[in-house]
Symmetry: C2
Subunit: 345 residues, 2 copies
């Protein structure tokens, strides 16, 4: 048994709410003691933390699908950890688990609640721990249910996905290909675009940093767009709206281009294309699909095993101290693949 009294829990807490981009003084680093877990709890050591665009929204004091992180609270974050002490018969020391561990080195409170999105054991025969934050984690589940349930792809459909090299986008595109669609990505920079086409098998990828998205869509989607999986919002959404096919579906997953905006959010000015094309734009929140996660993971694991799908993570080393810097990378598009922070080995 670990000598808990000798452990220090480095935590990242929210000191104040950011206005616009997050700055250093919005965060506070704390050293807390590590407590013995209570009956039914386990003590988990954080190994990896997931960095997600949605985190910016959690810092706003606004009505959303989840309450905001409170001032003084440990920053909310999903992660992979190792069970150190267990007072829950479902877990044993050494088990690898995923759950909302928070931006801290030790988490004593995570509980296993059947069917919930709390602590779950992960099966490393299916994939690496970092893949459990990507294709088998929230991004992969978002891609799976957003594309299949909301987007309802049909063979031959043209699917466009923004943030194509990101955590959600990479799985959306590969899954759409597997389902018989033609897939066009949108990503920033030639390296990401090349990877998406050459390694992931997208039919094309538009570099929004070096050319016109409008022209790229015209070239690569000559018949228009059946499904747009939107991770970015902003003007790219408007460009895609202008090229929708009849009965098109826009899966609204995120709007990272807008999350740091301080002025009023800009709405999609071409939204009346939805009327003209009898199209729909629909939002989704992945947690609604939690009971179906195991089946989705099993399907995706099959694609990974037979080589039809890849899962790429961009792992930043540096522990909890590097969390703010890693999060910034996400909003400036510096990550290449799912962004993960390594907290411990």
């Amino acid at each position: 048994m670990t000598a808990l009294a000798s452990l220090v829990n480095h935590q990242l807490r929210l000191a104040s709410r950011p206005v616009g981009p997050i700055s250093a003084d919005n965060w506070q680093f704390i050293e807390a003691p590590v407590a013995e877990p209570a009956e039914g709890q386990v003590l988990v050591q954080t190994l990896l933390l997931s960095l997600d665009p949605a985190m910016r929204g959690w810092l706003n004091d606004a009505r959303s699908y989840i309450p905001p992180v409170g001032i003084g609270e440990v920053m909310r974050a999903g992660g992979i950890g190792r069970v150190l002490v267990s007072r829950d018969p479902a877990f044993a020391p050494g088990d690898l688990v995923s759950g909302l561990l928070g931006a801290q080195e030790y988490c004593a409170a995570a509980q296993a609640i059947p069917g919930s999105r709390a602590l779950q054991k992960i099966d490393t025969r299916l994939g690496s721990p970092s893949q459990w934050l990507n294709v088998f984690g929230i991004p992969g589940m978002t891609a799976y249910f957003g594309l299949l349930d909301v987007g309802q792809p049909q063979p031959g459909d043209t699917v466009v996905v923004s943030g194509a090299a990101g955590a959600v986008g990479q799985t959306v595109g590969q899954l759409a290909r597997i389902k018989g669609c033609r897939v066009v990505g949108i990503a920033g920079g030639p390296a990401k675009c090349q990877w998406v086409v050459r390694e992931l098998g997208f039919d094309a990828c538009i570099d929004y940093k070096s050319g016109s998205v409008r022209d790229g869509l015209k070239q690569h989607c000559p018949k228009g767009v059946d499904i747009y999986f939107d991770n970015v919002g902003g003007e790219i959404l408007d460009h895609v709206l202008a090229r929708l096919r009849p009965k098109a579906r826009i899966v609204l997953c995120g709007a990272i281009s807008q999350y740091n905006a301080t002025g009023a959010m800009v709405g999609p000015k071409n939204y009346m294309a939805l009327l003209v094309q009898r199209a729909r734009m629909e939002g989704m929140v992945v947690f609604d699909y939690a009971p179906r996660f195991p089946a989705a993971i099993a399907e995706l694991a099959g694609y990974l095993k037979d080589g039809r799908m890849k899962s790429r993570e961009d792992i930043v080393d540096g522990g909890i101290a590097a969390f703010p810097r890693a999060l910034d990378m996400l909003f400036s598009g510096q990550n290449f693949g799912k962004l993960v922070l390594k907290v411990a080995d």
Copy 2:
């Protein structure tokens, strides 16, 4: 047989494309001869013409669900007419018909194409000729299929409809009540709001001209909005987005507040509420449902007959010459009920 050579066909043609609101010099009045109909055609005298918000869009040289009206062409308009001469065995002189007659006194080219939206006989036992441009016409069909097929109302749902006293809005609200929903209208001015509540049985109506739509929605939709049937767009759409319930549906039918805008269209800045609430916004074009019009008309006729539904028209007298003025009334919200132009008795 009418002496066709003695008839003059006063027509309204499009002289130039408006930028912003339509002005007098966008129109041209022409006197044309009335030709004998060809084999398979009928000659129809226009009695009533429908004035529709969509007409503004038909004047723009832009991709839409229907080609724009060409410069020099007779203005497109649906209407009710009387068959004067028939060379189609499906019609006899004296028959009352509805169809795209155009803004003119006589129409020689209308043909009966089975299953299409061309010339159709109307049954005045079900309703008056002006009602055939309203509840049994395109507005009624838009309300019926937009609400039922796209909106999918469930008993107990809170339904909000803008343009509540207008052609589409009045039928949407009454139909939603019949389907067991709570209905809140949005209309301009106390007279329209009172009529909508007292005569049509809406649960409440918000006067957007005299108060805050935001506060009105808060007061009358305390639990939020399940279905929003949007005829107006603009900031009212944003106010409703901010009050959506989970799994809400926005039926995108029109955006009359924006049709005369000369700058860039303003998009709904609160559109990310669709994500948070797992809601959808979906466009519809009524002509897609043409094969199901007869069944819808039969159902609506039943409601009219048993007194559960009313159909109000605002009939402007003055013939083809009054068409431009009547169309202006629509965009300034002066009409009260479905706006119809009387061309002949």
